[in-house]
């Protein structure tokens, strides 16, 4: 039987999972060296993220926050090299044009967005279509969207008590005036059969009580998001207000989208967006981060909604079919690995790929790395879904030696706790997969 040959470039030692050995001579190589101190496997190698503070830099803007977790890296960079500066300069140049060329932006952003000067925040907003391409329209668009969000909040987060009070405020005022100091209180009819114990489907009270289940779920999940980061978790006022913002966004999303409501995992997709927007050095943007995040979240999720809809699980657009496509992609590029993984060791891709795909790889890498992966996911012209599959395929290929040597248990363990890797390297391989399949 003719086995599809593993392409030569794959077999080279360059693509092994050992992080320090990989130094392909591309722009990514230069980029590795200039990455912030937070990136894990820069030579000298140390696979786990080093736990040290970011060195204070002149560009460092977020000094006041006590972010001592390495994952937080706001506006700092290690001594920038020409390449890093050039990319930053390119992006800034592109962003300062009157009308932004989205294709050019995607091309630069695909290689990675530097962490300083709020560039990532603005670029993500452009890539997700929140900001229009014409700079002149930015302020009016932002104002419109932000006030729309405020309106949503007022409408949707009201409890039924307040709603009834608003609806009937006129009648109650007059009855107060007529009320004497002594005497039987006058009874009035309720309207539309609205009372707190109503079991009617259209009753606001009934809907409110049904929603409390979802609100409780959202509350629990938000409290569990990134417990290791001061930004999200802990007792500080800052963390609590961030959690409150996340909750509001998820509740409003669930109420506006009764088809999909809230599914566990949406909080994980929301977290990086909110983090990036909240840490924008521009004060106004940071203040309105909640509103901006809401719309970008809706946009981002619109491509992936089908993954969260249980009824669609088995359909052509559902998560099962996406996982099957990943499997197919692996088979195309590395049949030997595919055969070993799925047939010999019977590792069903659903065991590991489900989390990779639905949570957009936020759970597989540390926070800083997942931001970097998202840069590529959002900017790739093929779209986030396709890019995601290629990245997942690359993840499998990078550890192929260990997978080929392992059995069911060890492979599953490896894939469910994916080892920390050089991200640029991973993205490079993913990129190459595109070239190959054309």
């Amino acid at each position: 039987m003719v086995k599809k040959r593993v392409p030569d470039w794959l077999n080279s030692s360059l693509w092994s999972s050992a992080p320090s050995s990989a130094t392909p001579t591309t722009t990514y190589a230069n980029e590795e060296q200039e990455h912030t101190v937070v990136d894990p496997p820069i030579p000298p190698p140390s696979p786990s993220p080093p736990t040290r503070e970011d060195p204070p830099q002149p560009q460092r803007i977020e000094n006041s926050r006590t972010n001592n977790v390495t994952n937080d890296h706001n506006g700092t960079s290690s001594p920038p090299s020409t390449d890093d500066i050039s990319r930053q300069a390119q992006l800034l140049a592109e962003l300062s044009r009157k009308v932004i060329d989205i294709r050019e932006l995607r091309r630069i952003a695909c290689q990675g967005i530097p962490d300083g000067a709020g560039i990532r925040s603005t670029v993500w907003k452009l890539l997700l279509g929140y900001l229009p391409l014409d700079r002149g329209l930015w302020s009016s668009e932002l104002a419109k969207k932000r006030s729309q969000y405020k309106h949503f909040k007022e409408e949707i987060l009201m409890n039924p008590s307040e709603i009834t009070r608003k609806m009937f405020s006129s009648t109650s005022d007059t009855s107060d005036a007529k009320c004497e100091s002594r005497g039987l209180l006058s009874r009035s009819e309720i309207t539309h059969g609205e009372h707190p114990l109503s079991l009617g489907k259209t009753s606001i009270w009934n809907q409110f009580f049904q929603d409390t289940e979802i609100i409780d779920q959202i509350d629990r999940d938000v409290k569990r998001t990134h417990p290791d980061m001061n930004f999200f978790s802990g007792d500080s006022q800052f963390a609590k207000s961030n959690q409150e913002a996340l909750k509001n966004i998820l509740i409003i999303f669930a109420k506006l989208n009764p088809g999909v409501r809230y599914v566990q995992g949406m909080n994980e997709i929301l977290a990086p967006l909110f983090y990036v927007f909240k840490n924008d050095p521009d004060e106004e943007n940071a203040a309105f981060a909640e509103a901006d995040t809401f719309f970008c979240f809706v946009e981002l999720l619109s491509g992936f909604r089908d993954n969260f809809c249980q009824q669609l699980d088995n359909s052509v657009v559902g998560i099962r079919s996406t996982i099957a496509r990943l499997s197919q992609l692996l088979r195309e590029h590395d049949e030997e690995l595919w055969r070993h993984l799925e047939i010999t060791t019977k590792v069903n891709p659903q065991f590991y790929a489900f989390r990779w795909i639905t949570l957009l790889l936020t759970q597989e890498f540390n926070f800083a790395d997942s931001l970097h992966i998202w840069d590529t996911l959002l900017s790739d012209p093929e779209g986030p879904q396709e890019t995601l599959l290629r990245v997942c395929c690359a993840m499998l290929i990078l550890v192929r030696r260990r997978l080929l040597a392992g059995d069911f248990t060890s492979n599953l363990k490896l894939l469910q706790n994916y080892p920390s890797t050089n991200i640029s390297h991973l993205l490079y391989v993913a990129n190459k997969l595109r070239v190959q399949s054309v």
Binding site: N159, P160, S161, E162, T164, R165, F168, S172, S175, D176, C179, S181, R182, G183, L184, L185, S186, R187, S188, E189, I190, G193, H195, P196, L197, S198, L199, F209, T212
Partner: protein, 190 residues
Amino acid sequence: MVLVLALGDLHIPHRAHDLPAKFKSMLVPGKIQHIICTGNLCIKEVHDYLKTLCPDLHITRGEYDEETKYPETKTLTIGQFKLGLCHGHQVIPWGDLDSLAMLQRQLDVDILITGHTHQFTAYKHEGGVVINPGSATGAYSSITYEVNPSFVLMDIDGLRVVVYVYELIDGEVKVDKIDFKKTSSTHPAH
């Protein structure tokens, strides 16, 4: 937004065997934050049933209650309101609004909830408001046989209370509401 259920005078099992089915279908756990019961349940099973609806249960003793340890009167604070609870057989003449107003001033509460007459009333005077939720099972009283099952649900929201009155009339549940506001946090000096 705090939902408080006020009911009483069920007289189970002596004068009635259970709450009306239509009431029972509406009273589900998870919606109500407090239950205030005027008394005359009369047995422990009813107490347990009410506990399943809401863990925060306040009861005062009626003359036929088998549990002797319930207090004669009780006061509690919910939100901005002070509520007082008493079965009402101790206040004579039974159901007399002036005498109940005296009790309310004694207890120093904004809303006094009493029972015993098995008739719903909501009465306002200078010292506050007196509410009688009636009998939740429609049991006959010492005064009359013509009793409609009724209970009261209060929605306390800041300084405003909306009282929803649930009555079973001719087999149908009728709901009315009563709105009133507290003018300030202190009692008017009358």
